[in-house]
């Protein structure tokens, strides 16, 4: 098992956002976490990446307990978060943003390989290499955020709402790329509001509601589940 979060409780002051949830990801899988606004999706991501500490529960990554580790320490282990919308550095150029992704790395030649890989996946970024990131469109910024995360060579790439605020065609494109990244051998955990895309692309999925996991199953199973269809796919 690559990642296992057990009975995680996360609170903001007196408000508890996650009431003891358990999630696990096997090596090579694409796992998604779906849920409505305020279900605790981003909180789960924060807890996993180490941006916020848990008040109870544990996170084990790659056979090591990382519960008490800071975000930057977890990144070095290969647990990498691509934060939600506009999580790029707006004042830096595209290249500088990608550089930040490789901030903790010293293996120059491998970094260059990863540049090529990112520009291969996102030819758009190559065209805009010198552009200030804050001036790009939402879709381009999302591509940059994913590219930057890839620059830290993740073992597990966690994507927080990659489709947020994007046009349907772009959503399709972003998910195509996510599938491609997974085929290249990176394990993926994706958090999404767009349940249809997420479920149809995932091996397994969890449904999150008000800080609890209410359902889990394979992607196709959940796509066929009547209550999921009603609540998240807009079909009765």
């Amino acid at each position: 098992m690559l990642l296992e979060m057990k009975d995680a409780v996360l609170s903001y002051g007196k408000i508890e956002a996650l009431h003891g949830i358990s999630v696990h990801v096997e090596e090579g899988e694409v796992v998604s976490l779906i849920g409505a606004n305020g279900a605790g999706k981003t909180s789960t991501m924060r807890a996993l990446s180490g941006v916020r500490g848990l008040s109870a529960g544990s996170v084990v990554f790659d056979g090591q307990d990382v519960t008490k580790m800071r975000a930057d320490q977890r990144l070095r282990k290969g647990l990498v978060l691509c934060p939600e919308g506009r999580g790029i550095f707006p004042g830096m150029t595209v290249t500088e943003n990608l550089n930040m992704g490789a901030y903790t790395r010293k293996d120059k030649s491998a970094i260059d390989e990863d540049y090529d890989r990112v520009f291969d996946l996102f030819p758009r970024l190559l065209e805009r290499k010198k552009q200030i990131a804050g001036t790009m469109s939402g879709g381009e910024q999302q591509m940059l955020a994913i590219g930057r995360a890839l620059m830290s060579r993740p073992k597990l790439l966690m994507l927080d709402e990659p489709s947020m605020g994007l046009a349907p065609m772009l959503i399709q494109q972003i998910f195509d790329i996510i599938t491609e990244i997974s085929q290249q051998g990176t394990t993926i955990l994706v958090v999404e509001q767009n349940a249809k895309q997420a479920l149809s692309r995932s091996d397994r999925a969890y449904v999150l509601e008000t800080g609890n996991i209410v359902k889990t199953g394979t992607g196709p199973e959940l796509l066929d589940d009547p209550s999921v269809r009603e609540a998240y796919l807009g079909v009765a």
Binding site: D72, P83, I88, F89, G91, M92, E96, N99, G134, G165
Partner: protein, 379 residues
């Protein structure tokens, strides 16, 4: 106002400068520096109108220049904290005061600290720590204070940090005023040492009359500090600061240890502030708590913000304007606070990124505006 700024922007000085060949930039820089060194003797009309001592009540020109450069040093140091790392420090005067008090406490033969050392070790009445040794002491003291203040408080963000630092600035001043048997209390400390140098005309090289020498000394230090700060900005540490300033959480998930780098920014900013304070105290040859009121902190912040937070040239311009203009137009003294407030409001409304903005800052402000609009649209 905006027409003027538009026409200045139309000149694209920044872009032209960046694109100019290296030798043009080197020569340009040397000319600016040479002119700066010549400034105290500037006496050719009409340029001499920039002098502050044209009428008999005016301030001594070289002394004003010295003060401008000392404030420039402080502003460049504060820019590391505010401009590079994005931490609002409203107590910067505390570090400035610590620098000035360090050289006074250890370098003046009449300071209570030195007197205690004299009697403890049976030294003569004239003994004191030499000036050159006071420099590392001053830097170490302000750096330590920066770390002590930063370590518990840098986990706070934004406004909370601003309030804590605000308190720090006041604590330093009030402590200096009340700790009579260490700092001399409200009476302050006299006989603050000056830098060593050959005697000229029977006076020491750095004295109270020949202010231009002080100005040149400060200018050399400023050039050094500006060089170091710009090297730092483009280093690995500088990139970490930039990332933290733009998005602290994103920086953390990219592997930037936020706290460590923020503490660095604080410590570096503090030691530069201490150095500026040391120069000030040494030239005055007298240090007293009322020289370090809170409004000086606000003045430093205003220099950075009006000039262009994050851009070293910008903060130099800001420090120059906010020090020079009040001295040049002394006769309008009672209008000073009004003009100051008006200038701040105008800059914030018309040019929130500062007079000489950093390109990144401008993009960040635009990005935040965008985010706010999206949030408003959601609600």
């Amino acid at each position: 106002m905006s027409q003027i700024s538009d026409s200045i922007r139309g000149l694209q000085i920044g872009n032209r400068w960046d694109r100019a060949p290296k030798w043009v930039r080197s020569v340009g820089l040397l000319l600016v520096i040479a002119f700066a060194f010549y400034l105290p003797f500037l006496n050719v009309l009409p340029f001499a109108y920039i002098r502050t001592d044209l009428n008999p009540t005016g301030s001594d020109w070289a002394s004003v220049l010295f003060l401008i450069v000392v404030y420039m040093i402080a502003a460049v140091g504060l820019n590391v904290v505010i401009g590079f790392a994005g931490l609002l420090d409203l107590g910067y005067v505390g570090f400035y005061a610590l620098g000035a008090y360090s050289v006074a406490l250890f370098g003046s033969p009449s300071s209570p600290v030195v007197e205690a050392l004299q009697s403890r070790f049976g030294l003569s009445d004239e003994w004191a720590v030499p000036f050159v040794m006071c420099i590392p002491i001053a830097i170490a003291m302000s750096l330590t204070a920066g770390v002590i203040l930063g370590a518990p408080t840098l986990r706070l963000r934004g406004d909370y940090l601003a309030i804590v630092t605000l308190g720090f600035g006041e604590i330093i001043r009030i402590t200096a005023r009340n700790l009579d048997n260490v700092t001399g209390g409200a009476a302050g400390i006299t006989q603050v040492p000056v830098p060593p140098g050959p005697e000229v005309d029977g006076r020491s090289f750095f004295n109270t009359i020949d202010a231009e020498r002080w100005y040149w000394l400060a200018l050399v230090i400023l050039i050094l500090i500006v060089f170091l700060a710009s090297r730092l900005e483009h280093s690995r540490v500088g990139r970490a600061w930039l990332a933290i300033r733009e998005d602290e959480d994103a920086a953390a998930v990219m592997g930037v240890a936020g706290f460590k780098f923020k503490l660095w920014a604080f410590a570096i900013g503090a030691s530069v502030g201490g150095l500026a304070g040391l120069l000030f105290g040494s030239k005055q040859q007298y240090v007293e708590p009322n020289a370090f009121m809170l409004n000086l902190s606000f003045l430093f912040v205003a220099m950075v913000v009006i000039g262009g937070s994050g851009n070293i040239v910008g903060v130099l311009v800001g420090a120059f304007l906010l020090t020079y203009l009040p001295e040049r137009f002394r006769e309008l003294q009672e209008w000073r606070p009004f003009a100051f407030g008006l200038a701040l409001v105008l800059v914030m409304v018309l040019r929130p990124q500062g007079l000489v903005p950093s390109r990144r800052r401008a993009a960040e402000i635009e990005d935040r505006r965008h985010e706010a609009e999206e949030a408003a649209a959601d609600a």
